[in-house]
Amino acid sequence: MDRTQCCVQLSVQPSRALVDERFVILVEKAPPGFQLSVRALHQCEDGHSWEAFGHYISDATGTVNVSQDLSLGGTYSGVEAMGLLCSLRPVPGSKPGLRMRKKDVQAPMMVTISVYQGHQVEGFVDQVPLASVVVERWYVAPGVRRIPITDHGLTGTLFLPPGPGPFPAVLDLWGGGGQLVEYRAALLASHGFAALALDYLTAKVIRETGKMVEDQYFETAYKELQKHPQIVSSRIAMIGLSFGTTMTLKMAIYSKVVKLRCAVCISGSHVQPIEKSVEEILSSFNDRADKTRINEENQVIWRDLLLPIPTDPSLKADVGSLQCPLLLVVGEDDQNWPTKESAEDIQEMMERAGNSHLLTVLSYPDTGHLIEPPYSSHTRTSNFKPVGTNQKVTVLWGGQMAAHARAQEDAWKKMLAFLRENLYGGRKASAATQSNL
């Protein structure tokens, strides 16, 4: 096809959006029945390039609509409106074990979407596309304020929605890799929740004293939220992923200070020695390191460390005494934590205790451990250095790309609805309408 004749037009709507919003990619004015590749290219903050592509055939009007048409191959197949983001992977030749995580949440993720002639699988970088556009994917809505929190020995970042408030709040915890991870809190603030991303494993106070934090650290963070003039002190929730779940349940059940309106636990477990410090809990996990499995690809599987689920009540959080609604998000192919088994045991414990009306379990087949905000690339394995060790290993997180992507989208929607209902709704409403999804 003569390039000078070609008038292929490409549009992505919206061109600026939050990372959890869908877009529509339209290719128009191609010759009818024409083979095309639509490709996404993103250079992440550490300089690595990520790409995804789908193979399409234009219809009789010369149009391809990625939201409606089948991808016949590429990094994703089938009808996948967001496949170009969900299936992003490092370009061939990249370092192995990479994971894409946004550090600077105040700048957008820039993605170049291009359309090429033919069904290409490689060598895009050497070709001139037929057309190309740029889209911005944002973790913050306009007007969201980012406030570093360093008082009282805390290491965290508070994100406030725009406006006078007052707002309900969420304390946001990530897992065993530590660091201060802001992007989910930024996104929650973009949805109307004040959100405090808290570093509790590599915080400044830990680096300075060489000692892990105690319960008081989380209680201090909770109190900081409570006393903020733009936060409603009685409407605070916690959300934790992985080891963050362990801490969330610990606070929700045992803390005399923290009174949560609701809790969200993603890819975690209730198995933990009770009435122990954070340090002791971490040691108890490390003590079972001999249960680590390594597969043929030399990837580390840690899900057996907490198995079998103990029957001894001193070895698991007493979910039967929970007094607030709990949402559990479970990846059934989680190779890092025994999330599914834990969820089943939690269900059983709460039924026996008579508070299972507070529990909602979202369980997703073929979904791994890293259940992130939607339309982010699925990480099945990556390099990982757990806090307190010097070993970098390749961890198997689990999940199959398409199923995992769908789980991320569905879980996020349901998490936001759960938070809205419990944090924005009336108290009576939240308890009465809880049901198992």
């Binding site: 000078t4 008038c7 037009q9 490409l10 919206p14 061109s15 600026r16 959006a17 939050l18 919003e21 004015k29 820039m110 170049t112 291009s114 001139v128 596309p129 037929l130 057309a131 190309s132 556009v133 740029v134 889209v135 911005e136 944002w138 809505a141 306009p142 007007g143 929605p161 725009p162 406006g163 006078p164 408030g165 007052p166 707002f167 309900p168 109307g192 409570q226 006393k227 409603v232 002190s233 009685s234 409407r235 809205r420 944090l423 924005y424």
Partner: protein
């Protein structure tokens, strides 16, 4: 223990970041049902003036309110106006008179705060119940902006993302002068390489001696750009800019626009530029012709200048009109029927007659908008019935009456922009055999 407070209502503007010609929805939830509320927009312009719009609403039984669906019962707009919060904006009370809202720096968005207040009374002393920020952009991501440096042509080139080649557009504003980039930036966001051209500085119309060749050179800057399709360059002009546009399309032996769009002035006055040959001609020729002592400038009850009447008689003088019969490409004419600055509709009637006489009326597409004024701009921008203007010949600051009523004018802006984009798409992106009158 702090008092238990109930949470704020949820206010959601979607999309929160958009191009200026895109619509948004404004939804408020968690309000008390069946209550009176005011939704208000507020913007601080680059000139440090506050602009606002507001509508009075009533929440439904679920405590929700939707600007897209619900009726406004008062404020700066009434009835069902999804974009009323932008198109009915005006300076807040106490502002300097005669202001106009125009973005200068197109690389940053226009920031608008949308808030919801209790009641229908004066909200200015209240803290809003909720407030969000929305960004309105002239440049889509990936659009590049290049101020022209070396050329004798002054202006800014905007290039869409991608390899191209793209069709091109020469974009010209009117008698106010200066360099206005916002429409060119928006056109680039729609896939055109676009040159915003400056042909005289504000207030310098008399001294700026622009040769006809200046505009031809500008056209060629676009045409010869490596990312532009040489046979797909059009011209868009507003007001004085459309007079230039029409001259280029009829008289130039150098440039061949594929299509032209004229907003608000055509055909008549000044005399064809080529009549002056290659001698430098100042744009003052326009004013010499216009400010004919036989037809003095009129004023309305607010002392705003009305130029419409003095120009009307000149339509009958063929020596003062561009030879439209020499038109060689499709032309779209956008007119406001309440244009107080230029007799737009009468002008297009005249153009139509001239073209019909030579069998070329198929080249003309016209859109006349009742009760719309002179300044037909991209959609969802405020309507200006009268604004400050520096009259070039005398350097006097006057208040010019442009005309139009806000609601029909806003509708005209929205509809005409769609027609302009569609016309450009058809003529500049379309196939050869498909080119014809819309």
């Amino acid at each position: 223990m702090p008092l238990q407070r109930s949470v704020a209502p949820i206010l959601c503007v979607q999309p929160s970041r958009a191009l200026v010609d895109e619509k948004f929805t404004v939804l408020v939830k968690n309000l008390p049902p069946g209550g009176p509320f005011t939704v208000r927009s507020l913007h601080l312009s680059e000139d440090n003036d506050y602009w606002e719009a507001y509508g009075h609403y009533v929440s439904n039984h679920q405590g929700e309110l939707s600007v897209w669906d619900d009726l406004s019962f008062g404020g700066t707009y009434t009835g069902r106006e999804p974009m009323g919060l932008l198109s009915s904006m005006r300076p807040i009370p106490g502002s300097r008179p005669g202001l106009r809202l125009r973005k200068k720096d197109v690389t940053t968005p226009m920031l608008v705060t949308i808030s919801v207040y209790c009641g229908h009374e004066d909200y200015r002393d209240q803290t809003p119940l909720a407030s969000v920020l929305t960004e309105r952009w002239h440049m889509a991501p990936g659009v590049q902006r290049f101020p022209l440096q070396e050329n004798t042509v002054r202006g800014t080139l905007f290039i869409p993302p991608g390899p191209g080649p793209f069709p091109g557009i020469l974009d010209m504003w009117g008698g106010g002068g200066g360099l206005l980039e916002y429409r060119a930036a928006l056109l680039a966001s729609h896939g055109y390489v676009c040159l915003a051209l400056e042909y005289f500085k504000p207030g310098e119309m008399t001294s700026a001696n622009q040769e006809f060749s200046y505009f031809e050179t500008a056209f060629n800057v676009i045409k010869d750009h490596p990312q532009v399709k040489t046979d797909r360059v059009g011209i868009l002009g507003l007001s004085l800019g459309s007079a230039v546009t029409l001259n280029l399309a009829t008289e130039s032996s150098v440039v061949e626009p594929r299509c032209i769009v004229c907003v608000k002035r055509y055909a008549c006055i000044p005399p064809p530029l080529s009549a002056f040959g290659s001698t430098p001609i100042g744009c003052y020729w326009f004013l010499l012709v216009v400010f004919d002592p036989r037809f003095p400038v009129k004023h309305d009850e607010n002392n705003c200048e009305i130029w419409r009447e003095m120009i009307l008689p000149l339509l009958k003088d063929s020596s003062r009109k561009v030879k439209v019969e020499k038109l060689r490409c499709p032309m779209l004419c956008i007119s406001g029927c309440d244009d107080q600055n230029w007799p737009a509709v009468e002008s297009v009637d005249d153009v139509m007659e001239t073209l019909r006489a030579v069998g070329k009326d198929h080249l003309l597409t016209r859109a006349d908008y009742p009760d719309a004024g002179h300044l037909i701009e991209p959609p969802f921008t405020p309507h200006f019935r009268a604004t400050n203007f520096i009259r070039g010949s005398t350097m006097e600051k006057v208040v010019m009456l442009w005309g139009g009523q806000t609601k029909p004018h806003s509708e005209a802006q929205e509809d005409s922009w769609r027609k302009i984009l569609s016309f450009l798409q058809h003529n500049l992106y379309g196939n050869d055999h498909a080119r014809s009158r819309l």
